[in-house]
Amino acid sequence: MTALLEARHVTRIFGGGFFDRSSTLALDEFSLALDGDRPSIIAVVGESGSGKTTLGRLLLGLTTPTRGQVFYNGRDLQKMSRAGWRAFRRDVQVIFQDPYGVYNPFYRIDHVLTTPVAKFGLATSRAGARTLIDDVLRAVGLRPEETLGRFPHQLSGGQRQRVMVARALLLRPRVIVADEPVSMVDASLRATILASLRTMNRDLGISIVYITHDLATAYQISDTIVVLYRGSVAEAGDVELVVKRPQHPYTQLLLSSIPLASPERTWMTESATAPTAPREAIETGCKFAGRCPSVASACREMPPPRFQTDRGRAVACYLYRGAPVLTEGDPWPRRSR
């Protein structure tokens, strides 16, 4: 069964050109598979510089991998024909982070909706197009008469982001890559946008790759979660397992650092972990070794393989040496059957 959208051993290095010797390893041997017939929401969580945005752009075909391939329905993006790309564009859509940058100030916001309709011939007539657009706007909780015909600077950040969700919905894609869709939106509107993502997945069977630094929203809407650290996967699996009983020291550090909006005061008591060492060059072995409280000698020599510690979870950490090792071919995260 070929995956709908799959990244296999993808590595992406930026810089390193003739003049600029400093090269940054954005993504290191990363694999991920989206199962077409069981659409789910996969959250990719990581700090800034963890490579999560690069992954999103690779899945969208906006950047090409330095090594490894990205497959759509089993076909390598690099080798796809023009027609292949049109189908890919239609099936894999995006929601960007910055609601202020995605609108061309010269046009009214309708431009963002009418262009895909025209380019992909989604409607036969002008009236057909109009009803299509009205429906998707209502689906994201916006009243068409209040939204269409206005310029971007006349709408609030929350409204603009919802129009972007509507745009993605318009094309009836099979996958939506949402790169930090709500991080620039106010708390009160965040829930509505995430809820519409949830309904799109449940009712329309659209798989969603939810890229974020916010573990709380990831926990709320995703089924499986991948925790990225400096380009490599630290831990991945069912969101309940990973959030409720984190195993990788980095995931534990992330979860313990989140200030909870609750009366109990647990956050300030624990002592600060080792101060972050300045970003040394990527040494051999596990990338987290520099900051890991339970670092061992093995960690410094070889990067840890992926240990399958639960039915629906795997961890790249020597603490779980006993568990069976995931073989080469297995893309993360295998869903619990």
């Binding site: 700090e47 800034s48 609030s156 950040g157 929350g158 409204q159 106010d186 708390a187 009160s188 509107l189 965040r190 829930a191 509505t192 946008i193 995430l194 809820a195 630094h213 916010d214 573990l215 709380a216 929203t217 926990y219 709320q220 959030v243 550090l253 992330l254 979860l255 650092s257 989140i258 200030p259 909870l260 909006a261 609750s262 009366p263 005061r265 647990t266 956050w267 300030m268 600060a272 972990t273 101060p275 972050t276 300045p278 970003r279």
Partner: protein
């Protein structure tokens, strides 16, 4: 320590007059951590800048009093106000801003603050002072000779904290100090701020939108909406028994790590500050609106010991 009475700040823009802060009043006790939470456009940053009298045209401080240890800062001339800044009230800038001068070393940016406040130190004493300040915020001594672009986000913020406490201020205003910082670095920066506050015995005003951060850091919390202060209570009570409907819905809209599917958004849109709805600004989105809410602007009044709210139904 610090009391603010009926502070009003307006911005005159080509699209009309914007009431960014409208009759804000509160008092800050010695050593207390007071938080102000609010979404974008709620006027929280404007209020913080107004306390330091740093509102630039087209903004203007219309009215209001800010008393530090009894002295009204609004009546001071520019020179005296300049001396109060950093010595009396220090500002920690937003995490996302590049608040450090890109072409000056960290050491020089600490020293020029000391010098302009009349602190005369010999070369050696100065270096000792800089090293102490950096160590007190968890930075290595060699950071002194580094330029801002050589520091990580977290280190830059800690350098700003070092500058902030260099004259042992009585009040520290932190305006979204950890915005755009990763959650792990955010925790270290906030712990530094807490430790430094305890050593100085200063009080802290924390302005921000991250309710979780407020819950874990501040003692008392004020909620702001559309330029007005609509609730002030001890932080534990805000999360257990919120008074104002907006506070209740805001807390309900926060994604929790405990159980799934419990969070839902607040319907409607944030009001535009230049044409606010009549009466209570929240009434178009409030589920319990009554006629009075549409006509009469509710005033902030004490509803329970140490807890006040601006709502007719409370």
């Amino acid at each position: 320590m610090l009391s603010v009475r009926d502070l009003v700040v307006h911005y005159d823009t080509p699209l009309g007059r914007v009431k960014a802060a409208d009759r804000i009043s509160f008092s800050l006790r010695a050593g207390e951590r007071l938080g102000f939470a609010g979404e974008s456009g709620s006027g929280k940053s404007t209020m913080a800048l107004a306390i330091l009298r740093m509102i630039k045209p087209p903004g203007r401080i219309e009215a209001g009093e800010v008393r530090l240890d009894g002295q009204n800062l609004m009546t001071l001339n520019d020179e005296d106000m300049r001396r109060v800044r950093l010595a009396g009230i220090a500002l920690i800038p937003q995490g996302s801003m590049n608040a450090l001068n890109p072409v000056m070393r960290v050491k020089e940016q600490i020293i020029d603050a000391l010098r302009d406040h009349g602190v005369r130190l010999s070369g050696r004493e100065r270096d000792v002072r800089v090293r102490e300040l950096l160590q007190s915020v968890g930075l290595r001594a060699d950071v002194a000779d580094m330029f801002p672009h050589e520091l990580s986000g977290g280190m830059k913020q800690r350098a700003c904290i070092a500058i902030g406490i260099s004259l042992r201020p009585r009040v520290i205003i932190a305006d979204e100090p950890t915005s755009a910082l990763d959650v792990v670095v955010q925790k270290q920066v906030m712990e530094t701020l807490a430790r430094v506050q305890e050593n100085l015995g200063a009080s802290v005003i924390l302005v921000g939108h991250d309710m979780g951060l407020m819950a874990q850091f501040v003692d008392r919390l004020g909620i702001m909406y559309a330029g007005k202060l609509i609730e002030v209570s001890p932080v534990r009570e805000i999360f257990t028994r919120p008074l104002h409907p907006y506070t209740r819905m805001l807390i309900a809209s926060l994604p929790s790590l405990e159980e799934k599917g419990t969070f839902r958004g607040i319907p409607g849109l944030l009001p535009l500050l230049r044409d606010l709805p009549p009466g209570c600004a929240f009434h178009p989105r409030c589920p319990h609106t009554v006629d009075r809410c549409r006509t009469e602007v509710p005033t902030l009044r004490e509803v329970r010991p140490d807890g006040s709210a601006a709502c007719h139904l409370v």
